[in-house]
Amino acid sequence: MKKVLMKGNEAIAEGALTAGCIAFFGYPITPSSEIAEYMARKFPLLGGTFVQAESELAAISMVYGGASTGFRVMTATSGPGISLKSEGISFLAEAELPCLIVNISRGGPGLGGIQPAQSDYWQATRGGGHGDFQIIVLAPSSVQEMLDFAMEAFDLADKYRIPVMVMAEGTLGQMMEPVIPREKVTQFIGKPWAINGCKDRKPNIVNTLHLSPEFLEERNHVLGDKYKVIKANEQRAETYWTEDADLVVVAFGLMSRIVKKAVMEVRKRGHKVGLIRPITLWPFPVEHIKKAAETAKMFLSVEISMGQMVDDVRLAVNGKAPVEFYGRIGMIPSPEEIADQIIKLAEREGF
């Protein structure tokens, strides 16, 4: 199909529609509001549902209700909104309800700023809610991927009965790039567990309360086993020039493109530098990092945060090489700045 110039936020919305999403429940927040606005324009024409919820709490609860009917539904917000949704996300994870949650992330903590950030990494991959659970987290790096990953997210969500988050820096939501539209999805997995009236079958129940400790533990193992399968099957990353790299930079999202340019620059100057770009933040691409750790002398995690993913890099490297960190907050460092950092490191370490 013909390329169309689109904002990242519009591309995510368009991707969701293409994937057969029939309902959006959300509360406006910069820099994610265009997703809601796009849906508000489209759904009345397409026959889907757009509800501006009274709050993020209500929005994620509407998603809970909507997802339990078996249809594809979504919400979108930014950092503070994810915090408010974290009880709901914990519920969705335990109820194993597939859905798409978008975080077009901005700087924190507190009200913070509306500039791009990656400092919701921990929230997305670990503690975004109480209890032991995980959600799949995809990090696109281009407007095209905003569209594609929205579609991918729904497929993964249905396949594993798990909420899937697409997390992108605010900038990626706001910037425009040409995008190739995709074919509309029309085939979906059956969902016999859905809540839609018990005609010709026994009643279905969607529930997360497990008062018996034994059953609670069993449920946690069911989830845990599922997470193991996902870890085994769904780790995704892109690697560039890692085979001979002394220094492997790890970066995700739009940030990874900046780093890529910097790495290309630095390669030109004769330093053996490579890049690993995690596409799934959870499951974290441990295997890609482990492989690189067999030969690399050092790792550098570059993030738009005070250093969060660097923990996961360290866990994967497991002491095989030093792992350094470089981060900015509220702004995306330029390729030049990253190149400078890499060269400084390379010169310090002598490679």
Partner: protein
């Protein structure tokens, strides 16, 4: 023309700098280039400054960001203060002299000035200021050609009233004319 050009547009929130950039992006895409348009979105707050960066390349765009654009189109004084030092060496600086009351301190830059607000006011279309300046810039620098831009006018303003499109086209052409005559 290089394989990758980056143009910064900067000014007040209400001056249409984001649309200027979008216009250029559409035009360049129409001309078969790889493009990206990246706003420093400050829209959550009123009355702030606004700027956007347009990248136009023959190959894949790895980084839609830069700290050192080759060209900057500056619509007000605070933007000049902020970005003067960032423009690439020997880059191009285009200034709205209606609202910028100083010249750059750097001497390596190619500087073009235009009293955009006055001209727009005189034309009776104060909202056309941005298109005026854009027309002038394209005429002068050829990031995309004036013809390419005009070709995509209809597409870019799709859904807008014909009278509005016409006003914008007028302003754009007046800018082209100004550049021809003054720069």
């Amino acid at each position: 023309m290089d394989s990758e050009k980056q143009v910064l547009f900067a000014g007040f929130g209400g001056q249409g700098v984001l649309s200027m950039g979008k216009f250029l992006t559409y035009a360049a895409m129409g001309a078969g280039k790889n493009v990206s348009w990246l706003p420093a979105y400050g829209a959550e707050m009123r009355g702030g400054t606004a700027n956007c960066l347009v990248t136009i390349a023959d190959d894949e765009i790895s980084s839609p960001l830069t700290e050192h654009p080759g060209m900057a189109i500056i619509m007000n004084r605070p933007s000049l203060d902020r970005f003067e030092g960032k423009i690439k060496k020997n880059g191009t600086l285009v200034i709205n002299s209606s609202l910028v009351d100083r010249l750059p301190q750097r001497e390596d830059l190619n500087v073009f000035q235009m009293p955009v607000n006055q001209i727009a006011d005189e034309m009776g279309s104060p909202k056309g200021a941005n298109m005026l300046l854009l027309g002038a810039c394209l005429q002068k620098t050829g990031v995309v050609t004036v013809e390419q831009a005009l070709e995509h006018f209809g597409i870019i303003f799709k859904g807008k009233k014909e009278s509005i499109i016409e006003k914008n086209r007028e302003a754009f052409l007046a800018g082209v004319q100004y550049a021809k005559e003054n720069w």
